[in-house]
Amino acid sequence: MAGFILIAVAAFFFPGVILRTKSIASGRKGPAIFQPWKDIAVLLRKGSVFSDTTSLIFRIAPSVTLATITGAMLLLPFAEQKAVLSFEGDFILFAYLLALGKFFTIIAALDTGSSFEGMGASREALFSMLVEPAFFILIATFAMFTGYTSFSVIFNHFFITGNDYVLIYSIIGAYLLVQIAMVENSRLPVDDPKTHLELTMIHEVMILDYSGFDKALIHVGTYLKFALYGSLIYNLVVPAGWNVILQTGLFFAVQALFAMVIGFTESFRARNKMNKNPKFILTLTSIALIAFMVILILTEKLA
């Protein structure tokens, strides 16, 4: 349960931290940390406008997405605390739940019958499809390394193997997770949420027609997703079994760091050309394969 709550809490600061980092990096003071949530509150107060092309799908999609993300949150452990739902192969459920959410986002975009949103949908579908193998190979290496197939147990046994080179591996893993999170949340370098031209958008263009409550749900979902990946990264880099206070501190530290990384990337890096993206995402898969090689070496299968 701890994991669930902490992720929820972290989600409150996450967007704010990103914004702050970006504004400081660009020499502005920037909004308050909780500004994004204030925006959400505003959205909740507003009414909604629906395109008369849209059907049921468009209306339920945000809720489905949010539900999937909450479901995914239940699968993540914190330190030695088992996740709410922890069983062999829970990460498969994790990945597929997120995929389910994505599925609905995409068809919702197609539901509006707008060419922009169709374009966004197609790109989103393609990129998320390409990123799947990377994630699964990474998980596979976890399983190979620890010999377990459940988030909680994997992360508990990660550093107990007593192998000093684990660090190399966990760094690669962390890097991968950061990139995957970028793609999944469609941030730079794959997609730039702050761009003004629909033609160059991916995620933003898909939710053009949302307003009010549904839009709020979508934003909440995005923030939670960030925190979700954040906690994955945390579990990967911080050994379980230290005392809880320290763990909690580290947890927020990692989340903040993750947010800042995103912020800095977005302030100092330009977005990829759209047709460069597949290549970029495939490199993630190859990096995952490198991680696999590392594991082969660590487990003395390749020596």
Partner: protein, 664 residues
């Protein structure tokens, strides 16, 4: 014995389909179907709960040395149930689907159709129950033949006839592989039966015989590159038929492979690796080709190839597990494969029925012509959505369960696996996840373009919802899909038992126990998800009720005169993907460039279609080459007597010469 006599009576009565009056035909057939289903299902449930029985039918005298005995073991029992369900649903659906054809076709056509349907069903049942070789081959061919007549129901179309015939031929070729395999067994053991396989395998290398069987069965199952008939035949057939064919008939190939594997003894590792790699190829290429299709049923057909690939991955893992003595792996692999057989039969038949309804409503299978059907035929749309989610293996639907089992087999076997093993497994994990992603891409496209947005054509615009008689059967299937998705432990337990008994892996309480627990957790997660979703939606409704809600046009970026033509089409949706997959798919575009002097360009039409590389290079080219050769040989009938005599003259001289030279 009662059982066999009853079965025989049903076989005999099936002939009456031609006799009964027109208005009665459907119900008569339905009656036979229900009776037979009750009978055989009772057999198989009896088997699954108790001991196996054998029913002897007094067919096949000893002249051919065969006795027609229906033996029911765990495997056949499972397949019987799968077949019965889909066939029944398909026939219920057919009533509404065939309505429009009644004006065009005379009663005999319908009699033939119903008769073939009955016999497709009967032959599938017999295929899974018969052990004797000759009897098996006969029912195997009857299965192909009856399905051929079902495919060519709309036979006035020359293209459909062509497709049907090429289907028939390819099935025949497959049959010959199995025939040769059986004959080899007979020559060695003196018996021509599946029961004799064990004896043969114990004495000889297993791989060659297995490959023969595999070739034969893989053609039926549609493994790439032997799949070429599949994407042609499924669109040609009427939808309830394609549902049954894709749902259960191609699984007969899987059954055969499983049946042969069950008695294999050596060469297991290489066999497993071969199966695994072929399945991976089928899975990935199948879905990759599916994405670029515009014909809805063709797209679904390619997805059948993909799902056969997934099933194959499961089986391959099972064999590898047996080879490496990894009981858990083989259990999970086989179980995953077997369960996916069931799941695929459900959601694929559902999807095909849906496609049929769409075809009737919009009078086209080309998804570029459809759109906006969600508002016009909501039930069909929802059912299609359920089917797509299931086929993408997304929770909380049944597809996820089987893929989960297969994944777990792979992940579980990773620790402590040898180098090559782990490379192979990680490769297949990546491939399987890629398949999942591609499937999502494909079905977001299919569902989004067909059912969402604005209609792209007149017919789609005034489409009507399918009749009740077509909706209800689909609802039943969908309910089963959801049930398996949420109540998986109940279903997986018996599947585990079937697998352990069939491949006598010995009971593995650890694995089975652990996995029933895991699946329970998954069901729990599914439950939580559903509840969360429900609460969210309820709150949303409450919230919206307290805020002002208005509707307007879709935001057009300031452009206000948007037309449905501007929507994203299937082609444009797959455009980016096409860029990546070009080398594999060879998508061809046909567009006329605008000339230099053309100031006012006239209307143009843009055409893009991708044809099957394997079909073109592995089937069409050689076949055409040989037939050209044969035609060139056939020039003897000159009508000149002297030539006719000459042939005899030359033949005699040649033979005489050969005889003199002691060649023959």
């Amino acid at each position: 014995m009662f059982g066999s006599t009853a079965f025989l009576v049903i076989l005999a009565l099936s002939l009456l389909v031609f006799a009964v009056p027109e208005w009665l035909k459907y119900y008569f057939t339905l009656g036979l179907l229900v009776a037979g289903i009750a009978l055989t299902s009772s057999w198989s449930t009896g088997m699954l709960t108790g001991a196996g029985q054998a029913y002897e039918l007094p067919l096949f005298t000893a002249a051919t040395g065969t006795r027609m005995v229906l033996v029911i073991d765990n495997l056949s029992a499972f397949f019987i149930l799968v077949v019965n369900f889909t066939v029944l649903i398909g026939f219920l659906y057919a009533r509404g689907y065939l309505e429009p054809y009644k004006i065009r076709m005379n009663a005999l056509r319908f009699s033939i159709h119903y008769f073939s349907y009955l016999w497709l069903w009967i032959s599938m049942l017999m295929v899974v129950m018969i052990r004797d070789g000759i009897a098996f081959l006969i029912v195997w061919e009857i299965m192909a033949l009856s399905s051929f007549f079902l495919v060519i129901f709309d036979a006035e179309e020359r293209s459909i006839m062509k497709t049907g015939i090429s289907y028939l031929i390819q099935m025949h070729v497959g049959m010959f592989f199995i025939l040769v395999a059986f004959l080899l067994v007979q020559q060695d053991t003196g018996r021509m039966s599946f029961d004799a396989l064990g004896e043969y395998f114990s004495r000889h290398r297993n791989l060659p015989l297995f490959l023969l069987f595999f070739a034969g069965f893989a053609i039926k199952a549609g493994f790439i590159p032997l799949h070429t008939w599949l994407p042609e035949a499924h669109p040609a057939a009427p939808s309830h038929v394609s549902g049954v064919m894709s749902g259960v008939m191609i699984k007969m190939g899987i059954y055969g492979i499983m049946r042969v594997l069950a008695s294999m003894q050596s060469d297991l590792l290489i066999t497993g690796v071969i199966i695994l790699i072929m399945s991976l190829v089928s899975g990935v290429l199948g879905v990759m080709m599916a994405i670029v299709q515009h014909d809805l049923k063709r797209l679904l057909a390619y997805h059948s190839i993909e799902n056969i690939g997934i099933i194959g991955i499961g089986i391959g893992l099972g064999v590898i597990g047996q080879a490496t003595g990894n009981g858990a792996l083989s259990l999970l692999g086989y179980a995953g494969g077997l369960l996916h057989v069931l799941n695929h039969s459900l959601f694929k038949s559902l999807l095909f029925f849906n496609a049929g309804s769409v075809y009737h409503a919009a009078h086209t299978r080309n998804i570029e012509q459809t759109g906006g059907l969600m508002k016009r035929m909501p039930w069909t749309a929802i059912l299609f959505l359920a089917g797509s989610l299931a086929i993408c293996g997304l929770p909380p639907f049944n597809g996820f369960i089987s893929e989960y089992l297969i994944y777990m087999g792979m992940f579980g076997s990773l620790s402590g696996a040898s180098l090559y093993h782990s490379i192979l497994i990680v490769g297949s994990i990546a491939a399987l996840s890629l398949i999942g992603g591609l499937a999502i891409f494909c079905f977001t496209k299919a569902f989004g373009i067909v059912f969402l947005g604005e209609p792209r054509s007149e017919e789609a615009g005034n489409a009507r919802e399918a009749g009740r008689s077509m909706i209800f059967p689909q609802l039943a299937t969908a309910a089963l899909i959801l049930f398996i998705g949420l109540g998986s432990p109940l279903v997986v337990k018996p599947v585990f038992d079937i697998v352990t008994r069939t491949w006598n892996l010995g009971s593995q309480p650890l694995v089975t126990g652990a996995f029933t627990a895991n699946l329970a957790q998954i069901s729990l997660a599914g439950g939580i998800f559903v509840v969360t979703l429900a609460t969210l939606l309820l709150y949303r409704r409450y919230h919206l009720s307290r805020h002002v809600v208005e509707t307007g046009p879709t935001w057009g970026c300031g452009y206000t005169a948007g037309t449905p033509k501007q929507q994203y089409t299937a082609t444009s949706f797959a455009y980016n993907y096409n860029h990546i997959a070009k080398p594999l798919l060879q998508t061809r575009k046909e567009i006329e460039e605008i000339g230099e002097d053309e100031i006012f360009p006239h209307r143009r039409k843009f055409l893009s279609h991708s044809d099957d590389l394997f079909k073109r290079n592995l089937v069409d080219k050689p076949v055409d080459w040989i037939s050209g050769l044969l035609k060139r040989i056939a020039v003897m009938q000159t009508g000149q007597i002297r030539h006719y005599i000459l042939y005899a003259f030359v033949f005699m001289l040649i033979v005489l010469l050969l005889a003199m030279l002691k060649i023959i």
